[in-house]
């Protein structure tokens, strides 16, 4: 088969892109240039392992059931690891540790919602979906609603949510790989894209599952090692370790910096302890609750997460897989508490934020410190390992997303709507592979086009859209007798549209006028500061004092210069992307409004629509989702 030939050349291509001019491309990252070969070795080892797995998987993937659902032969435990691998993106792996290292308590509080989300998945989504679903979200919604309409809506929503999430992963991943090992942004986006395409196109769900399992295992090993080495010097005592954190001068300085004027009459001890108290990062509780709603309800509506439940043989195995996923994901976030605080203690917030403002370098820099610092070989080996795990993370998450949207395109749109469910398995697998290539190519193009854009809020938006459109539809079609096609259409459209529209008018967007005003303030304050400082320089009693004041002048000048650049950048622009001078709402997370609206629209749409099929099929759906009668079986071996 030609696919076997191609699959052998895919890793070679990816490796060639990685090592082409030896390791000269590893420039200016956290790994010093002379240790670049270490990164090449570790990356090559991990890529080779995943490619070998894909090669084995490609031999098995011939049927649609293999391609979309790994033959339903994934065990509960394996699927639990794969869910963890699918879910723990670089944003949770590096981002949350980073938030803790910069803002202490608030970073940890932020992580909680990502675990609690799985209670919804466990209690009301996983088992019913396994019992009545086949391959996609569309299959669940089409069960008792108008087939073509439901499939079309589900496919649109799946692709929308996945593209938002995908864009955040591609852009975030590209920036991350550049900061870690210095590979050019475009090169890393291409490498991620090519690798992910190789896994999905040749190995389908089988390879995607194994890549996610490998990545989750590596992630857990890396995290446990980091925590062991960080915590051991304090005799594995929680108060002992935190005592050291709050007593550290770097931590106290960071808190003083965050609090500004409010810190002036606080003692060093108070400043340190403040690091473990809420309010340094999350200022708006309403926004917090809004985000919490999107997480708790959105995770259960994420197409790539839903899809994982079709890979296990029974509903019982689906249950076991969520239990395992919750143990791994929760355990990981508890470890993150130590990684984040350990980085704040050993590396320091100033150094971490100096490399990446969002704090993403906290974990990698802690690894480097543990191994002996930036000049040591062991330190850089550890750093390269963590960087490679981060890279594997991006690839594994992106592969899951691409597979979910490609399935929606091929299984729901092409086979379900266009071909009216009349396609041979061979035709459908071919269509699924072609769709994967289309989505993958799209991901690479979007990744490169969106370079330099602020995409952080796209993850939260993806969850908000899933929580406002997918979840109300899935939940009500499963549990509410009167739900029908009218509700699905109205709920999907209004839920998704309102979440997106609310973000378009929120403070997440860039408002040139406000940016200019902010920059003008910095310029004014900086200019005044320079004037006072210059007097100090002129009147300084000795050289040391003069030098100190001169350094302060240089720093203030740099700040003014940066603000002037910002001002110039927004010169001539008056309004945001949607034509606003200032945000219309103060909420950054739309869930608080859009989720209830989504539910309301499903209910109203159902009440105003008559659909005999939906009510006739209710008993069958309800019996089947509860008993597993006639559920899709695993592939016979």
């Amino acid at each position: 088969m030609t696919s076997h030939l191609a699959i052998r050349s895919a890793p070679a291509l990816a490796l060639a892109m990685l090592c082409s001019p030896a390791h000269a491309i590893f420039k200016g990252g956290a790994v010093p240039e002379r240790f670049g070969w270490l990164a090449v070795v570790v990356f090559a080892a991990i890529i080779a392992l995943t490619m070998y797995v894909t090669y084995l998987a490609a031999k098995r993937v011939k049927s649609t059931q293999q391609f979309y659902a790994a033959g339903r032969s994934v065990s509960g435990i394996q699927n639990g690891w794969a869910i963890a691998g699918d879910y723990l993106s670089a944003a949770s792996f590096l981002g949350i540790a980073g938030l803790i290292s910069l803002y202490g308590y608030d970073g940890f509080m932020y992580s909680v919602g990502w675990l609690v989300a799985y209670i919804t998945v466990l209690l009301v989504i996983a088992e019913p979906c396994r019992n009545i679903g086949k391959y996609t979200l569309g299959d669940i919604l089409a069960f008792r609603n108008n087939h073509k309409t439901a499939k079309t809506m589900a496919a649109i929503s799946t692709i929308t949510v996945s593209i938002f999430y995908l864009t955040a992963q591609m852009v975030g991943g590209g920036v991350l790989v550049k900061t870690l090992i210095g590979i050019d942004y475009e090169v890393s986006v291409m490498v991620v894209g090519v690798l992910m395409l190789a896994y999905v196109v040749f190995g389908g769900m089988v390879a995607t599952t194994w890549v996610q399992i490998i990545k989750a295992v590596l992630l857990v090993i890396a995290s446990i090692l980091l925590v062991m080495f960080t915590w051991a010097p304090y005799g594995f005592s929680l108060p002992g370790f935190l005592e050291a954190v709050v007593g550290d001068a770097k931590v106290q300085a960071q808190v003083a910096k965050l609090l500004g004027d409010a810190a002036s009459n606080m003692s060093a001890t108070e400043l340190g302890q403040r690091f473990l108290e809420p309010g340094l990062f999350l200022k708006s509780p309403v926004d917090q609750i809004s985000l919490g709603m999107a997480l708790v309800l959105g995770t259960a509506g994420m197409p790539h997460i839903l899809m994982r439940f079709f890979t296990v043989p029974t509903a019982q195995q689906a249950r076991i897989s969520v239990i395992w996923a919750m143990a791994i994901i929760g355990g990981f976030y508890v470890l993150t508490l130590f990684i984040g605080n350990g980085a704040a203690l050993n590396v320091g917030a100033a150094t971490i934020a100096g490399m990446d403002k969002g704090g993403n370098m906290a974990g990698p820099l802690l690894a480097q410190y543990i191994g002996g610092g930036p000049e040591s070989m062991l330190g850089n080996l550890f750093l390269a390992f963590v960087a490679a795990v981060a890279f594997a993370t991006i690839v594994a998450v992106v592969a899951g997303l691409v597979l979910a949207s490609a399935s929606a395109m091929s299984h729901d749109i092409w086979v379900g709507v266009i071909k009216g469910e009349h396609a041979t398995p061979e035709e459908e697998v071919r269509a699924a592979r072609i769709c994967s290539v289309i989505v993958g190519a799209l991901a690479i193009v979007i990744g490169i086009l969106a370079k330099g854009q602020n995409v952080a809020h796209l993850v939260a938006l993806a969850f908000a859209v899933a929580a406002s459109s997918n979840l109300p539809c899935v939940l009500l079609t499963l549990y509410w007798k009167r739900c029908n096609t009218g509700g699905i259409v109205l709920g999907m459209l209004v839920g998704a549209f309102s979440a997106i529209a609310l973000v378009m008018v929120s403070p997440n967007m860039t408002y040139p006028k406000l940016e200019r005003e902010k920059a003008q303030k910095v310029i004014d304050a900086g200019t005044a500061k320079i004037a006072t400082l210059e007097v100090v320089v002129a009147q300084a009693a000795d050289d040391a004092a003069r030098e100190k004041a001169q350094a302060a002048v240089t720093k203030a000048q740099a700040e003014v210069k940066a603000a002037q650049d910002t001002y110039a950048k927004y010169e001539g622009q008056e309004t945001s992307l949607v034509g606003l001078e200032a945000p219309l709402i103060s909420l950054k997370n739309p869930g608080l409004y859009s989720i209830p609206l989504g539910f309301l629209c499903v209910i109203l749409g159902s009440l105003f629509w008559r659909d005999r099929k939906a009510s006739e099929m209710w008993e069958e759906l309800y019996v089947r989702q509860n008993t597993g009668l006639h559920a899709e079986k695993a592939a016979a071996h």
Binding site: Y105, V116, P239, V245, L276, G292, Q316, G330, L629
Partner: protein, 108 residues
């Protein structure tokens, strides 16, 4: 796909199924509400009960930190309770219904 002779309405009306439906709904939605309420106490507490959250109880470890850690324990606890209950009660009932459905003429 579905054999025409499976009488879904009859299974739905079966006393064991009605019993499963009643018990499961009550159990699931109770757990769901408990977990959501407990989770939202965290941001609410962090915003409006700061004095309480700042109270140090074990060296530098304060109530807020313990409360955040308790969220993990509660989430795992709910998962454990659900899975035990499902294994012991819901699964055997579902099996019984499936056997009854088989007798009623439906194919498994």
């Amino acid at each position: 796909m579905t054999p025409a002779h499976t009488d879904w309405a009859a299974i739905d009306a079966h006393p064991t199924f009605q019993e499963l439906h009643r018990r499961k709904s009550r159990f699931l939605w109770t757990l769901m509400v408990v977990s959501i309420v407990y989770y939202f106490l965290l941001p609410i507490g962090a915003a409006y009960f700061t004095d309480w959250f700042k109270m140090q109880v074990w060296g530098p470890v304060n109530v807020g930190l313990l409360f955040a850690l308790s969220q993990f324990v509660v989430a795992w606890g709910i998962a454990f309770i659900y899975s035990r209950h499902a294994n012991r009660t819901f699964d055997p009932m579902a099996d019984e219904i499936n056997r009854a459905a088989l007798r009623m003429g439906g194919q498994r």
